[in-house]
């Protein structure tokens, strides 16, 4: 296992498991990465923590290509909201050569306090087995976030994930908040009432 601390995620090219660990499960970096991957072809995105902000991906794509809409069509996205669904999704997916798999916020659903810890561990072991199988065929990038204090009994799951990783890309500190963006005014300085919509 290797730790990496570059500021931008490199495109995953080899069939390995890269774990991105940081606040918000490396949300923006994962989305930026997905945008860059779409330029090369299809990409699977398995969203396990409601982090697939496609507006962000579209915005990133606009800086990379003249056809952001076409590139967005390269994303094959499915969302899972429970750990049972995460496992079902990973069991369902059939990795195709050249189609990398991004898994956003993998641990999120396994923190569900209504699922017994033993059950979570059992499901997570199966999930990791699916991920390992996929890694033999395609690059897999998994993101995870630091656990909340109420989830501390489930730290073992994070350890299991890190153990399986070929590389770990770890954000050590919180990112500063993104700058507030205003829509450019047509007439700078003018404060116009909102006319028709």
């Amino acid at each position: 296992m290797e730790h990496d601390s570059r500021s931008e995620l490199a495109l995953p090219l080899s069939n390995e498991l890269l774990v991105v660990f940081g606040p918000h499960a490396g949300g923006r970096r994962m989305l930026d990465l997905s945008a860059r991957l779409t330029l090369r072809g299809p990409v699977y995105m398995l969203d396990c923590g409601n982090r697939s902000n496609m507006y962000h991906v579209a915005k990133e794509l606009r800086t990379l290509t003249g056809d952001p809409v076409g590139m967005l069509r390269n994303i094959r996205l499915s969302r899972a909201f429970t750990c049972y669904q995460v496992l079902a999704l990973l069991e369902k997916i059939r990795p195709e050569p050249g189609v990398p798999v991004l898994i956003l916020d993998l641990l999120s659903t396994f923190m569900d306090e209504s699922v017994h810890l033993d059950e979570s561990v059992m499901l997570f072991e199966k999930t990791l087995a699916c991920i390992q199988r996929a890694c033999h065929l395609v690059p897999v990038v998994v993101s995870a976030k630091p656990l909340l204090s109420i989830s501390s009994p489930r730290l073992v799951l994070l350890g299991m994930l890190k153990q399986q990783a070929t590389h770990i890309w770890e954000e050590l500190s919180l990112n500063p908040p993104p700058p507030v963006e205003y829509q450019p005014a047509l007439f700078p300085g003018a404060l116009l009432p909102r006319e028709g919509r």
Partner: protein
Amino acid sequence: MPAALRGWLLDLYEDAADGLRLWIISEEGERLCLKQSMPITFYAAGEAEQLRGLWKFLRKQPGVLSLSRETRRDVFLPEPIPVLQAVIDNPIRQTRLFRDVQKQFPHLTYYDSDISVTTRHAAAWGTFPMAFCEFEADDDANLQSLRVLNTRWDLSPVFPVFRTLAIEPDCDPVRGTPKTIKLHFQQRQKSLCLDDPAELIARLNAILDEVDPDFILTQWGDNWLIPELLKLSEQAGETLRLNRDADRDVRWQKELTYFSYGQIIYRGEEAHLFGRCHIDQRSAMMWKDYGLDGVLESARVTAQSIERAARVSPGSGISAMQMLTALEHQILVPWHKQQVEAFKSGMDLIHRDRGGLIYQPIVGLHSDVGQIDFISMYPAIIIKGNISPEVPLPDGIIPASDELGVVPLTLKPLYEKRVALKLNQANLRKGDPIAKRDSARASALKWLLVVCFGFLGYKNARFGRIEAHEAVTNGGREVLIRAKEIAESMGFEVLHLFVDALWLKKPGAVNKRDFQDVLNEITEQTGLGVSLDGVYRWVAFLPSRADSRIPVANRYFGVFQDGSSKVRGIEVRRRDTPPWVSETQTRMMDALAKAYTLEALPERLNEAFNLFRSALSDMREGRVPLDKLVVTCRITHELEAYKSPTPAVRAAKQLLQQTGKRVRPGQKMRFIYTRGEQGVSAWEVTEKLDPSRLDREKYIELMARAASSVLYPFGIENEELKQWAHSATIMLPLKFERQDAHVRPICNHVRPGRVERHAGVGRRASRSAT
């Protein structure tokens, strides 16, 4: 016991020996306990070899009545599937057995395995809490036959005369040490001293025997009163007979912290009784909103026990109803939902995953405005569009399938009952006790309907599916756009759209009939019911605090023609606003509400401003009672996890240090702003606060902020008001000598620019100091 009797079903629960115990209130007023055997069926599906293994395992277990291979319908699969059906003799045995089964055979898929006994009984017998039934029983109270004589959907159910015992301590146990408990029953009141446990328990038992209550209503019952009484009963060496079922002890439901809709929620320990219902009014969900009438209605339509209906969220109620519908239609209820979202592209997600439609409001003061609401829009769309996880989804609200799915099947009678209750209410005079009761019942139904849409997308909903959730918002957007176009084609200006509501303006439209045609047209063209929430004398839409050029959805206040006011998105609606601030803000708006027209508003402005000024004087002169200054905030993490502690966290740490009481994530913390390093004082330890320690400036700031929300439409800026309030120039009052000068620019230009408003304020500011 007579061979046949009629009465109401108060409570039912599992019993290891009897199967079920049912408590009945007979027509004659007797309270009776009957016994009923209750075999429980569950199913397993999966690979044949594993099913075979399960069959072998179950065959050896005691209490397994039958094992068979059946074909049943899984709602998420296109064709019925083969399943192993296991029938167990007793609900308690089934729960224990299933625990072992799922551990030993974790790869199988299970159905109908964790459904509450009340839901199963409802599916099998048509029962529900307070169902009026005909029972036949033998001499040993074993039920021989059961016939339900009414339905969950009755509009005017008849209830027996309930016996109620209310118990509360003489003070908030969190803030003080109660010395007595007060009891209310049969229009009597008694006070029992807590000093002598033996006497207390003896007297309490005597009252329980005499009253034999159906409901024990408490304050702080779950977390203080009942634990304390049980402790005292142990000290006295005498059993406290809280339960009607003498064989049972109080059942404790463990405390719980969980995530819900992005919030951390804390649910304290709960004390449940057998044969009668305990409701702690402080931990009961929505008690303030709809009371016992609403709880009974919620229990009735969801077929959950009364104690459970009082405590759990409306989402749990909807879940219970959906399971009941599934059982009634022989559809399997999955133990864990496993179906996943079909793959879609990034563009598909952008197109489909949107919320409700919002058009930002036109900021400023307006008259001749009516507010139109779709009646329970999302439930109506689910029903009309037949939106359910197992049926093809519509694009819009035209159904793609004729056969109603589980979700619309569940919601249809609920929706129709609420609409019928609302219509009935409209025909009742104000103050009619039936109107009050029906209003509480309608409110309970409203909450169930409100959550049903969110529940479609909820992770743990057995019959949820994210695509169905998206289809509902898609239908909502389409319907609202259509309504907007209809209104505009009829000459109305649309001031604001917010998910299921429209604010329409037309010069001269000042009463209900001016909006009747547009209501009819929208109903006809969309097929959904709409109602006129009211016609405003005037309404003010407020901008963002951070940037007054930016309008904010659903942040407004106004007064209807009948004098009632409507407020959204300002301080009075926030839970963390201290009562002193929210009460003053309400009074200021009430003062403005006396203006019948926009033109009459300036006359009321001085009155509103004086209320603000007088509140500030009260603060400076120490006349505000401390309890009016309490701020309540929720703690969302363990205290040690905070890097920059918020005021609430600082107060919680104080509480921990001084009393050893730890505030759990999801619990609320009450505190007062004080001067000094900490900046706060936990309310629970603020017995005698030195008035000089109060952080008056902080409260003045909060008050100025609240007042500026009310005064903003009249050209008064937040920062300006704050400065004025802090400047301690209370003796130099701000005067509105030519009020019309402040109002007119805004009245005449409903889309005011900053320059205009500033000009108004500037003129006022120059005249303000006298």
